[in-house]
Amino acid sequence: MSTLFDKLVNWINFEPTVGLLMLITAIALFGSGFRTYQQSAENFWPWLRQLLTTSTSALIGAALFVGLMWAFRIVLNDNVASFYSTHGSVSDLSRSSAQTIWGRPHQQIELTIRHTHQVEKLEEQPREKPEDPPTYKTVIVTEEVTQNSIIGFEGDVMMRLNEREKGYALYSGYILDVKIVYDIINDSQIYTDAEFNFPLSRGQALFENFVIMMDGDDMSPKLRIANDNVSWTTKMKPQQKSQLVITYSSRGMDYFYYQIPVQREIKNFVLTLTIDRLPVSLINYPDGVITPGKIQPTEDGKGSILTWNLDHAITVAGMGVSLIPPEQPGAQVLRVLVISPYALTLLGAMLALTMLIWGVSVRFLDLALLSAVYSMQFLLMAAISDLFFGFWGSLVVGALLTLFLSYFLFRSLPTRPMRVSVYALIVFFTLIYPLSGLLTELSHQNAFHALMQVGLILYVTGLSLYVGGRKPAGSGS
């Protein structure tokens, strides 16, 4: 008994509105059933027998109501769990697995060029007498020729979004077509050995059609590929200008950026990133990335073209884009399903209170049928939203069926105002309340729930005053 009471207290703590409403309704049902005891006999033993009988039947009524609501809550909770298990259950494990198969976030780090040359140097030799003139020997050393060799950059990156499904959830994958043109120079008066290092995006699953052309020559035979890095060496004349074209296709997930890793003066730099299906309004950026100078929509308006145009600039911040997580399959349906057990309990309690206020006994068969019909709306949504109509279609179909069946269920209620009050409740909980699941802002959710509680209190008060006003004077409860 104590455990049951503790469970009740925990539940009311967890869902105070529904818990209290259920409790009040159960007490009201008990009180309503218990009322007949007052007409009991004058003698003690018959009175006691009557008391026990009415108490038991009232208790059964209250327990039946609570049990009925709990049973349908379990059905709806199970429906939510089943739907969630096969729709949009994003997990780190699935994401990691999807990245292993498809590809990680793509981070393209800039090409680096190191110029060296071998030079003869005079190295002073130690001498025994300080007054002697110094003597030297010639040695050959490799010296670095420090310079900023990249004098122009033109990058064209085409990003085609390609959502990947893993473990019933979608992840924001993409396919990249990259073409990078570097204008380079040996900005010295020395013949140098130029060592090029082009980093590949770390741990990336696939690079296709990877070609490096230098002044029209395919550099493939010279390329050394190891440790996510492509390197090659070539000789460069003083003030030699060359053009380096690097093309490849790859894949990635979540975000992409291009980064200049070390501080240098950036000249004539243009990076254009075209995303085929990400409208301008949904553009987002990874941390530590500078925003583009120009953002345009694509011709069809479905995508975006981002341009970074830098000249005489310095930055080591990246340039790129972060993709918003794709809307998971059935996300809206799931949000509505999650609140369905709550909605059912509210509807059941409000319907029972409405009946009690009208002075009509609560018919548990009707309550059970309404619960079944109402639950069916959400079961139907879960079942058909993937197949036929999507979110809105399945919501409308489910709601129409519930309203249609409810109409037949309550059309035999004795008075028109009573029918109107019951139908108003059912319409609210069938059409309006489920849409509150689509509210995403916490402040809006809280505001809606507070105002809904106000609405329910005012409904009960208004109905009580209305019904009380219709009764003949002196027939108070």
Binding site: F5, W47, P126, G288, T291, T315, A447, H449, A450, I457
Partner: protein, 471 residues
């Protein structure tokens, strides 16, 4: 079960000691009233048992109804408070600022150009531990030259605020340093101009005496060297554009003698503060309006110091400070519902009116609804005065309807209590300090006791005069 019930009552008593005590008193009175007034259907123990069960059930139900109303408002308050606090602290705006800081770049604190003069000469050095006889080698010795440095500074910063809400700006900067080698030696001047890592600098240019100068990067500094003859004076000009937000300041990192120092910051807004250290008595500051913007100029004619000067932009989006008042008002909701419930119950008992549970439940529901409605509308950013007035009027109207068949005096008393606990009592929480609020709470409790005492006396006097006139 009794343990759990005891725990709940103890928790309740701890939270609202005086209100719950008054509630128990009212419950005892209710118990006594019902016990006395119950019909004597039986005789002996059976009659006592029935009366006891009847009265106890009644009293427990009233405690339950009051407790439920308190609990509902307390829980709703628990949901309301964190969301309203977020609005009051402007946390959404702060998060947007933080996000923007990562992408756009935060404040700019520009340190002065660093300059070091050195001279080099050759000397013969003995190689240490040479064996078997001493060995010698020539070496170049470099030593610092103290005479010289920055002799004049003229900085012009043009700040264009891009987003006044996020305080992002684009600063176009031009610094002119007049540097001099005041020594008798030919020196190598090494310059280091600090830049901020991960920041985007555009159109960067360094020139000496009008000639573009090549620079290198050394640990977040632009670095270059120049040979300076004795008494040579050079003009070093650095210009660039850079993104920033919130603050812009320029400072001299090491104390030095400063002469002819002039920094001008022009902004396209007047919504900013100036920052001047060590103070405006040491540094001359003038701000002049220019169109929709303003120009601030700092001048140091001759001083030894390490000054900091700059501006701080004000965001046009400020936290919703009204939410603190809204939270204070809502905080009194749970206590108010208990106090109004208890005082109404006692009023009805003292006035000898039948206490109907259904009406009492509706009354508490209506009273609670005004606080719930207040919280709901406040979260939709509607000024809190609107829901206070709107829902108070609604509560008064519905209370009138619920108790419309109650005698006029009692009804007016209930309406007055409703009004006091709807508006007057919660507004007491807007008092500025804790002590004042505590005193206010004690005054309210005293007034409730006074009211009950006075009402009881009034009813007794009325009854006496009625019985006298009947005699």
């Amino acid at each position: 079960m009794l343990d759990a019930l005891g725990r709940i009552l103890a928790w309740w008593g701890g939270r609202e000691p005086s209100a719950s005590l008054m509630m128990y008193v009212a419950a005892v009175l209710l118990f006594a009233g019902v016990f006395v007034a119950a019909n004597n259907r039986f005789t002996g123990y059976a009659a006592g048992l029935e009366r006891f069960a009847h009265a106890l059930g009644y009293a427990l139900l009233y405690i339950g109804v009051l407790g439920a109303s308190y609990f509902l408002l307390d829980k709703s308050l628990g949901l309301f408070r964190p969301v309203a606090s977020r609005l009051a602290l402007g946390e959404d705006h702060n998060e947007r600022m933080m996000e923007t800081r990562k992408r756009w770049g935060g404040e700019i604190q520009q340190a002065e150009l660093g300059m070091a003069l050195t001279r080099s000469y050759e000397e013969v050095m003995e190689i240490p531990d040479a064996y078997p006889s001493p060995q010698y080698i020539n070496r170049i010795v470099t030593e610092p030259v103290e005479e010289g440095g920055i002799v004049e500074f003229n900085g012009a910063v043009d700040i264009e605020v891009i987003d006044p809400s996020l305080t992002t700006y684009m600063a176009s900067v031009e610094y002119q340093y007049l540097v001099e080698n005041q020594s008798e030696y030919t020196t190598t001047a090494t310059f280091k101009f600090p830049i901020i890592r991960n920041r985007y600098y555009e159109n960067l240019s360094v020139s000496i005496n009008g000639e573009d100068w090549k620079y290198n990067f050394q640990a977040d500094n632009l670095a270059w060297k120049n040979i300076m003859l004795p008494r040579q004076v050079d003009m070093v000009k650095i210009s660039f554009s850079v993104r920033g937000m919130e603050n812009f300041s320029y400072y001299v990192p090491e104390q030095r003698g400063i002469e002819a120092f002039l920094l001008t910051i022009h902004l396209n807004t007047r919504n900013y503060y100036t920052l001047t250290k060590p103070g405006e008595d040491a540094i001359e500051l003038k701000s002049v309006a220019q169109g929709s913007g303003q120009r601030s100029t700092w001048v140091i004619k001759r001083a030894i110091m390490k000054p900091i000067m700059g501006i701080r932009l004000n965001s046009t989006e400020q936290p919703d400070l009204r939410q603190w008042d809204a939270i204070s008002f809502a905080n009194y909701g749970p206590a108010a519902v208990m106090l109004v419930g208890v005082t109404t119950l006692l009023t009805m008992l003292i006035m000898g009116l039948p206490v109907r549970l259904d009406r009492f439940l509706l009354y508490l529901g209506v009273f609670s609804a005004q606080f719930l409605g207040f919280m709901g509308l406040d979260l939709l950013q509607i000024h809190y005065v609107v829901p206070i007035i709107l829902f108070s009027l609604l509560a008064l109207g519905l209370t009138f309807l619920i108790y419309k068949d109650v005698p006029r005096l009692s009804r007016n008393l209930i309406l007055a209590l409703t009004l006091i606990f709807s508006v007057g009592y919660p507004l007491g929480n807007l008092l500025p300090d804790e002590q004042a609020r505590s005193i206010f709470g004690m005054i309210v409790q005293s007034l409730i006791l006074l009211y009950i005492f006075g009402l009881t006396l009034f009813v007794r006097v009325q009854q006496n005069s009625k019985s006298r006139s009947a005699e």
